[in-house]
């Protein structure tokens, strides 16, 4: 009998322990259940912190710069001589270089990108598209430094052998290469826009006797127009922010000129030149870095917001 009751007692204790244990583990899992969302929220807010960090650093240092160089002088000045004895900080040469290189890039990427998109979405068979599209996207995956090397050691010599008056560093060659780099972006975004045009619209047009070409230009492209424009704007934004190609192939002359055979500096290339030159913190030239970067940031931000606005506002719903 005593052994039996002893057993009984032991069992009872075990069960009680188990209940206790269960309650504890439930408590722990309750705590984790409550903690996890908080931890994840903190992690997710790092991206917001990044934005705040970017805006804060750019603004605070740029304000220091505008205390030394008046903001009006900065945005209207056509002379940029940061290294000279009497330095002048006019940002227009850089904005000019940025706009011209982006324009050249878009003259290459715009037409070719949209023609590729038309071919891929309207003419190519499924088999052909499945081969061509990933191949085209390889272009987008190549590091920009490789494009810079290509522009400097291959494209520039070719241009110079045809037009000897072109300088060793010029804005034309990086502009063209940048265009090639942007082709896949425009092609794939425009193609997405065109593919999302419903087939019923195409068939309606074809049934009326239109050729594929007429259908493409009179039905598909107008219907996909907002997406195509958005892809262009994103392409421009990409070209404005592109750094290594222009840094390597366009040199660092800060002339305010429209001659594409000459060397010009973009905003991005200026940042590389000045920061790589180890500008000591606290000097005017160091602060100018942030003023230029702020201008660049605002340019690309406007472009990105514009792209989103266009594709949302003018999207045709079917």
């Amino acid at each position: 009998m005593p052994t039996n009751s002893g057993n009984h007692k032991q069992n009872a204790v075990n069960v009680r322990e188990m209940i206790e244990e269960k309650r504890n583990s439930r408590n722990i899992s309750n705590i984790t259940e409550k903690l996890i969302p908080t931890i994840l929220f903190i992690i997710a807010s790092i991206s917001v912190l990044t934005t705040i960090g970017i805006i804060y650093t750019l603004l605070s240092e740029a304000i220091e710069f505008f205390k030394i160089v008046p903001i009006w002088e900065f945005f209207t000045g056509t002379v940029l001589k940061p290294m000279s004895q009497n330095p002048e900080f006019g940002v227009l040469p850089l904005i000019n270089g940025t706009i011209i290189s982006s324009l050249i890039a878009m003259l290459v990427a715009g037409p070719i990108g949209i023609m590729s998109a038309v071919y891929l979405s309207e003419y190519a068979t499924d088999k052909v598209r499945k081969v061509l599209k990933p191949l085209l996207e390889v272009l987008a995956g190549i590091p920009t430094i490789v494009y810079g090397f290509f522009a400097f050691t291959f494209v520039t010599p070719i241009i110079r052998s045809i037009f000897p008056e072109v300088e060793a560093t010029n804005i034309l060659s990086p502009g063209i290469v940048m265009g090639v780099m942007i082709i896949p972006m425009i092609a794939s975004l425009s193609e997405d826009a065109m593919t999302s045009v419903p087939n019923a619209m195409r068939e309606g047009s074809l049934a009326m006797g239109a050729t594929k070409l007429e259908t493409t230009f009179k039905v598909v492209i107008p219907a996909a127009f907002s997406g195509i424009i958005a892809s262009f704007v994103l392409g421009i934004s990409r070209a404005i922010g592109e750094t290594m190609i222009v840094t390597i192939a366009s040199g660092s002359s800060k002339n305010f000129t429209f001659d594409i055979t000459q060397s010009m500096q973009t905003m991005t290339a200026y940042i590389v030149e000045v920061s790589g030159g180890e500008a000591a913190a606290g000097t005017t030239i160091y602060y100018s870095l942030y003023a230029v970067a702020l201008t660049l940031f605002v340019f690309t931000l406007i472009m990105n917001l514009l792209a989103r606005y266009v594709s949302r506002k003018f999207r045709e719903e079917y």
Partner: protein, 294 residues
């Protein structure tokens, strides 16, 4: 009564069809243009660099004389960057994606974070360089060490990984999670044991793609002042380093002074492209092998 002039009609029809056929070829040529440039670029790099690419080049130290120069330092630097970028982006990227997809209530806060992420994706990489220079190098005092470069690159590629992880999580069908809830699992248990394993292949694919973006990036590193000089091999997170893209950058710049440097740059580009190719192959392999369709 006017009748349709059959011959005239046919003539016009033929012209329209011919136009269609001609432009079809033009469109095809435009598509092939990008690929032709890609081919020229690759052939050019390989013909210039292949002769210089041997074991001594890969394992050698940096040298001013072109014959003896090697890229082991840059290669190690890139590996060290990956050591920082991989854990940082995975934790922050996947964590943010889980929060946004599974915890955040649909509302102002969630759409604010979402808009913020898509805006960050459009910020030029050089601006991230300035952020890194100010915050990591100057304020935190990391200088141009591996950690400063790695953190800067991590912030740069985070938006890509967050968005791709979100898509991966969204692709997991609801009924899997419902089944888990039905068995009495809590939310976190469901995420840990059901949602994450199901979306892991897609998340890894996105992670590898963002990693390959990070190791090809040059602009932020130039802003941080990463050198390409005769420095000792990096051995830890706080050592000065150089990376493959920086090596290519300096050799390309100096190729107008020393002609051989162009070949060295080309050889380094081959190494970098092979590395990227391998990473992407792994990503494609994972996607094809482990991705389940529900």
């Amino acid at each position: 009564m006017n009748q349709v002039n059959a011959t005239k009609m046919e003539k016009r029809m033929h012209a329209r069809i011919r136009k269609n056929n001609i432009l079809k070829v033009v469109f095809l040529l435009a598509t092939l243009f990008g690929l032709a440039v890609l081919a020229v670029l690759l052939v050019r790099v390989i013909t210039q660099g292949a002769a210089w690419l041997d074991w001594d080049f890969i394992t050698g130290r940096l040298s001013t004389s072109a014959d003896r120069a090697g890229i082991m330092g840059a290669l190690l630097g890139t590996v060290w960057l990956m050591v920082v970028v991989i854990p940082v982006t995975l934790i922050i990227g996947v964590g943010s994606a889980i929060y946004l997809e599974l915890y955040a209530k649909k509302g102002k806060l969630q759409s604010f974070i979402q808009t913020n992420i898509s805006n960050l994706a459009g910020v030029p990489s050089i601006v991230y360089g300035l952020l890194g220079l100010t915050i990591f190098s100057r304020v935190m005092g990391l200088g141009n060490a591996v950690l400063a470069g790695g953190l800067t690159l991590s912030l740069l590629v985070l938006p890509i990984l967050i968005v791709s992880s979100q898509e991966a999580i969204r692709a997991v069908p609801k009924y899997l999670a419902e089944a888990s809830y039905g068995m009495g699992a809590t939310k976190w248990q469901t995420i840990k044991n059901v949602v994450l394993p199901a979306s892991l292949p897609s998340i890894l694919t996105g992670a590898i793609l963002s990693l390959s973006r990070a190791i090809g990036e040059t602009a932020p590193l130039t802003v941080l002042g990463i050198p390409a000089l005769l420095i000792p091999f990096p051995e830890g997170l706080f050592d000065t380093f150089t990376a493959l893209p920086m090596q290519i950058y300096y050799w390309t710049l100096d190729s107008s002074l020393v002609k051989e440097y162009a070949y060295l740059a080309a050889a380094t580009i081959i190494v970098l492209l092979v590395l990227l190719f391998l990473l992407n192959s792994v990503a494609i392999f994972i996607r094809n092998k482990f991705q389940q369709r529900y």
